[in-house]
Amino acid sequence: MTTRANAPSVSVLARRWLGENATFYLFAAPFAALTIVMGLWPIALSIQTSFTESYTALSPQPTYVGFANYIEVFGDPVFTKSAWLTLRYTVLAVVLNLVIALFYAMFLSSVLLSRGAWIFKLCCFLPVVTPDVAGYIVWKWMYSGDFGAVNAALTALGLPEFGGVSQVSTVTLAILIAEMWYHVGFYVVIFLANFAMLDRTLDEAAHLDKAGFWRKFTRVTLPQLRPAITINSIYALIQFLKTFTVVVVITKGGPGTATNFVSYYAYRQFDQAQYGTATAMATILFSVIMVLAFALYWYNQRRDWR
């Protein structure tokens, strides 16, 4: 009885272990558990599968083959080409999306656009909340060489036809435009939030110092947009390195192998039950994304923006 009476209560123990934030940790625990089960566990399983023989990957006792799948993937010229295509596309997409989003946000936050700004905001954000598959199906129809709206409009204007997704020379541009339509609204919203927090006195000071538009933009505005640029660039990098849906819906990796990006190639391998090599590709992509995202974050944090 004496022992029971002197024993600390659960709440006291929890406070002792977790400190003063015990209540917070207790409330957060279910979500942490969910994150581990739903988020980290599949990643861990995927990495584990990448070290197994494909034929046995889903059996109760898979055969482990060490780095054989990784060696096979790095020796596969299709994967090498796919990796370069993915990187090239990512660079193009990140730069294009962020630049356009930045200037679009500048336009929307301009005092000259006091009326009607909500229409432009709505127009650019609507695609973000549209189901991506539905949006890309419409883009596919628009690009159709047979009855597409894009070529119909170009022809009506007396301009040459656009090769769209049927030609290697134009397919990258075609899916860049479709993806920009879908993603750019999100980046604009982040930039707009940052624009709302800008210190206008700095702008006025630069104006009094007779700084021109470009000088004000690069020395006053841009440094203050660092949080938005960091978030957007990291998000865009992750987004475009994983480009998948637009390829599945519109190009299926073609024409030829022109849009056979790593995510799609891994998916095709998975589809052919090559689980070992598919998950090895996915793990390589995951590692590249992690390294690049952290590098970008580190660079944006350290860089002197003034």
Binding site: S54, Y55, T56, A57, L58, S59, P60, V78, S144, G145, D146, F147, G164, V165, S166, Q167, V168, I250, T251, K252, G253, G254, P255, G256, T257, A258, R268, F270, D271, Q272, A273
Partner: protein, 423 residues
């Protein structure tokens, strides 16, 4: 006490009936037609096995592979798998858990309608991996009203196809006043799509191999093979008989082109005819025949793309009953239902009344038939070799060559080198 006895009795009765009831689950990729067929066959099977219910689940073909392989490897298999022979081969290769049905087949009395050729495309690596249930036939189709509009008959030769294609493109055969029609509907988005079309050109022309023969020799630069392959590649490129978007078309897009009335000549599978006879689709406005003739001394044919059949996983939950249902699918009743719903069967000893002339082409074949060679069942390295071949063809479709003959010669050499590296 009475209440307890009543409860005990009810529990026993329920438990007893639950123990007797069995649900056979079959996975296939035949869509609604297949679901209707299995439902009809299941009802007929129920007459002999009142406690057995048959439930079929249709997956898109790609998903069927992944799900089947995963399920067999994780001991969560369905009772039966239903698909094409070569697809079951891949499940066998990647699971090793498909039952050898040789003894089951040997014990069946009524199998005389199956030829040795039929049985050959049921065996793999010494085992009978499927009971063959439906021959897969694919003919060449052309829109009847379009042919009439341009003053042509059903194209018999490759020259006919070329001439008719040019007219379909230039002469507005659908009469809508727009320049929106093409000669042929093909598909080329995925490697398997492209090679499937090449198989049809090749076997339809009466040749016996697409890439490699039984002895392991690469055949694509042999004169006749080379001619067919070059014409196939030119169809997409130099000739422009297909929509430029075809390089991003898979099965669904190809069907949109056919059913949407944008191409006048196309593949017709035995399973397509019932749907296309329907008023809302092609309304029977098409003719079906052999694939075009390329050579005077080789007969063209309707292509037998293999055999669809039923396989029983080693780890099927209700294996004995699954075997019984597999055997039942070869009965007259189930075969009649198969023909009615899916458009294909292996038996012919039942009524064919009421079938359209297009369905009779497959149900009562009076034309040449030429079957796939299934090199994957002979050469273990074939899938990898074929994957390389696909990639080469996909690349060249968007990079047309000035000298296609020289390209095929060089491609053949690359395939030989690849074959040697894989052996």
């Amino acid at each position: 006490m009475k209440l307890k006895a009543l409860l005990a009795g009810t529990t026993l009765a329920l438990g007893g009936s639950m123990a007797m009831a069995e649900e056979l689950v079959i996975w296939h990729d035949l869509g609604d037609n297949g679901i209707n067929w299995f439902a009809e066959a299941g009802e007929a099977f129920k007459k002999m096995h009142p406690d057995v219910t048959v439930k079929s689940v249709s997956f898109p073909t790609d998903q069927w592979y992944g799900k089947s392989i995963a399920a067999l490897n994780t001991n969560t298999a369905p009772d039966l798998l239903y698909n094409n022979y070569e697809r079951v081969i891949r499940v066998v290769d990647q699971t090793g858990k498909v039952m050898d049905l040789s003894d089951v087949f040997a014990g069946m009395a009524d199998t005389g309608f199956l030829s040795e050729a039929d049985l050959n495309v049921a065996r793999y690596d010494g085992n009978m991996i499927i009971l063959p249930v439906q021959r897969v036939q694919m003919g060449f189709g052309a829109r009847k009203s379009w042919l009439e509009a341009v003053g042509e008959d059903f194209p018999e030769t490759w020259e006919d196809v070329q001439r008719v294609s040019a007219k379909f493109i230039a002469e507005d055969p659908d009469g809508n006043g727009k320049d929106d029609t093409y000669g042929l509907a093909l598909e080329a988005a995925n490697p398997r799509d492209l090679i499937h079309m090449l198989d049809l050109y090749t076997f339809g022309a009466g040749l016996r191999h697409t890439l490699i023969d039984g002895a392991g020799e690469i055949v694509i630069d042999e004169p006749k093979h080379k001619q067919v392959l070059v014409e196939f590649l030119k169809t997409f490129t130099d000739y422009g008989y297909v929509s430029p978007d075809t390089v991003t078309h898979s099965f669904p897009e190809m069907y949109q082109v056919i059913e949407g009335g944008r191409a006048g000549m196309f593949r017709v599978g035995d399973w397509n005819v019932k749907k296309w006879d329907g008023a809302d689709v092609l309304n029977g406005d098409f003719l079906v025949g052999e694939w075009p003739q390329h050579f005077d001394d080789v007969d063209n044919a309707v292509v037998i793309g293999g055999m669809r059949g039923v396989a029983v996983p080693d780890n099927a939950p209700n294996k004995d009953m699954a075997i019984e249902f597999a055997k039942f699918l070869l009965s007259v009743e189930a075969q009649q239902a198969s023909l009615n719903n899916v458009g294909a069967a292996v038996r012919g000893d039942f009524a064919l009344d009421g079938l359209s002339e297009r369905r009779l082409v497959f149900a009562q074949p009076a034309h040449n038939l030429n079957a796939y060679d299934f090199p994957e069942s002979v050469h273990a390295f074939y899938p990898e070799l074929e994957a390389d071949f696909h990639r080469e063809l996909l690349e060249v479709l968007v990079d047309p060559q000035d000298d296609w003959g020289a390209y095929v010669d060089a491609l053949a050499e690359r395939m030989r080198a690849k074959r040697d590296s894989l052996k």
